[in-house]
């Protein structure tokens, strides 16, 4: 799985491509871990636009990141989900914990 990474206004945007399952999710986990979460770190935004499939293994990575960053100072956010992916988040009750932004622009606005 390729994960595109860029930085905008103090936010690291990670854009994984393809399938987030128990075979690949550790790569996203690692990419998030690599971004500092302390005062001199960055917010993390995962841009899901190129994620065509997610299983509970992918949700596990999101939950871990949410828990680690819940208390700040650097937050975790998500955006740009395809319908099927968003549905899996909703069925799992994750939309209660994480705002799922329509696109990266709106996500950046709300984080800055």
């Amino acid at each position: 799985m390729h994960i595109d990474q860029k930085e905008e206004q103090g936010i690291v945007i990670l854009a994984p491509e393809g399938r987030l399952d128990s075979n690949t999710s550790h790569l996203l986990d690692q990419a998030i871990e690599n971004v500092g979460s302390g005062d001199d770190g960055f917010h993390v935004l995962v841009d899901f636009s190129a994620v065509e499939y997610i299983s509970s293994a992918g949700l596990r990575v999101v939950l871990k990141a949410l828990k680690q960053r819940q208390a700040g100072p650097k937050y975790f956010a998500a955006s740009s989900m395809q319908d099927h992916v968003r549905e899996v988040f909703e069925i799992s009750g994750f939309d209660a914990y994480i705002p799922i932004h329509e696109n990266t622009t709106l996500a950046i606005t709300s984080l800055t």
Binding site: S22, Y53, S55, K67, S92
Partner: protein, 153 residues
């Protein structure tokens, strides 16, 4: 690479008119094989993409569960999956020789808990059950036999 995968999948796959069956070994890398096989089924039966993704999620969660928790030994095991199209229903059967595991008896996770208490134990099986229209479990000859029905919309 893709062409190679399709060739392998043709070799492993028996197709008669309304049945597709294939085998996976107990390795998470087989999730790729699973999705390739489901794409082949989708093409054969002209299944909508949404259905394929849901079917993939169901079988992924069950398969991952078997690979992670089903076996006490380090040996290779075969998991057999059959898809049977019966009119507007898809009958999906998954057979493994792992330890007894009846997914229909798993308690559903409590979804609405504070984030700090959120635990994903059981979420995969929960998702599989949410997306299947019916799930039947049987234990026969030391094998788990899970039959799922998915209604084609």
């Amino acid at each position: 690479m893709i062409i190679q995968r399709y060739l392998t999948c043709e070799e492993n796959m028996s197709i008669d008119n309304d049945t597709i069956s294939f085998t996976l070994v107990n390795s998470l890398s087989e999730l790729d094989t699973l999705s390739v096989q489901l794409e082949a089924a989708a093409e054969k039966w002209n299944l909508p993409q949404k259905m394929v993704l849901q079917l993939n999620l169901i079988l992924d969660e069950l398969f991952t569960n078997i690979v992670k928790y089903g076996y006490k030994d380090e040996l290779a095991h075969i998991i057999t999956i059959s898809l049977d199209k019966k009119g507007s229903k898809l009958l999906v059967t998954m057979i493994d020789d792992g330890g007894f595991f009846d997914m229909t008896q798993q308690a559903a996770p409590i979804l609405n808990v504070p984030l700090a208490d959120k635990d994903l134990g059981g979420l995969g099986i929960f998702l599989a059950r949410q997306y299947a229209d019916k799930v039947i479990y049987e234990r026969q000859d030391n094998k788990n036999i899970v039959t799922l029905i998915k209604v084609l919309e």
